[in-house]
Amino acid sequence: MENLNGYLIVSAILFSIGTIGVLTRKNAIVIFMCIELMLNAVNLTFVALSRYLGNLDGQIFVFFIMTVAAAEAAVGLALIIAFFNNKETIDVDDINLMKW
């Protein structure tokens, strides 16, 4: 497959953008979306390499990652709602109860 490098570069770019988002944004939901973006970047690598190697294991793995992502989304968003109910905000800088 001639275009593998292209897919890999796109995947790396998307992953880096996700990282930047996680590090710089303060809104918990946006950070959450950035994490999903990073997961998807990895998925793209998996599928591309799976196709290139003629081996379906990578795609099966993507399937499991999606399952985990779905579970994570459900629980994570529930956590955000619970936090919002208590503090009226989802700014991560206000989540500081872990200190002491």
């Binding site: 880096s16 930047i20 590090l23 809104n27 979306m33 998925n43 599928v47 003629g54 779905a70 919002f84």
Partner: protein, 167 residues
């Protein structure tokens, strides 16, 4: 032709990904993210994995993003202009760039030399991608597949308990 198509899709994916992290309003970010997910689904189609593309659209663009948008609406966060939405952008970008170069280098370096697996493009086209995935999933990966059901159950219970009014 295909290269051109790939470049267009790539442009859309990267721009919408950048928009995800730059929009002030989370709902806009969410919509951009859906755009990125569609681009990824397109990539999957181009990679002869139509089943993955379908799942991508259904699970990510459909289920997960709907959940997010619902949450955003439910919380009804007011966009407060006076408050900064992001910080340390410069430092974050540096780390992001270094990450990119690291990843690119590693992905190029560690790439396998030649196709090794049994599933050639012709075979996938002849038998069908979904059937092959299904066979693989329900034979070699049966136990992990069953375990994911437990994972989802736990997630459901956890989400219900956490999202209740009082915890």
């Amino acid at each position: 032709m295909e290269t051109l198509f790939f470049l267009i899709i790539t442009l859309v994916a990267i721009v919408s990904a950048i928009l995800v992290i730059t929009f002030k309003n989370p709902i806009n970010s969410a919509l951009s993210l859906i755009m990125t997910f569609f681009c990824l689904a397109t990539y999957y189609v181009m990679l002869d994995a139509p089943f993955m593309a379908a799942v991508q659209v259904m699970v990510y663009a459909g289920a997960i993003m709907v959940l997010m948008v619902f949450t955003i609406m439910l919380l009804n966060i007011r966009v407060d202009a006076s408050k900064k939405h992001s910080h340390k952008i410069f430092l974050g970008s540096i780390i992001g760039f270094i990450t990119f170069f690291n990843l690119a280098y590693i992905l190029f370096k560690s790439r396998a030399a030649a196709p090794t697996g049994p599933y050639s493009v012709d075979m996938i086209k002849q038998i069908g991608h979904t059937e092959l995935i299904g066979k693989e999933m329900f034979t070699n990966f049966l136990l992990p597949f069953e375990i994911t059901s437990i994972l989802l159950l736990v997630a459901i219970v956890g989400a219900v308990i956490l999202a209740k009014k009082k915890i």
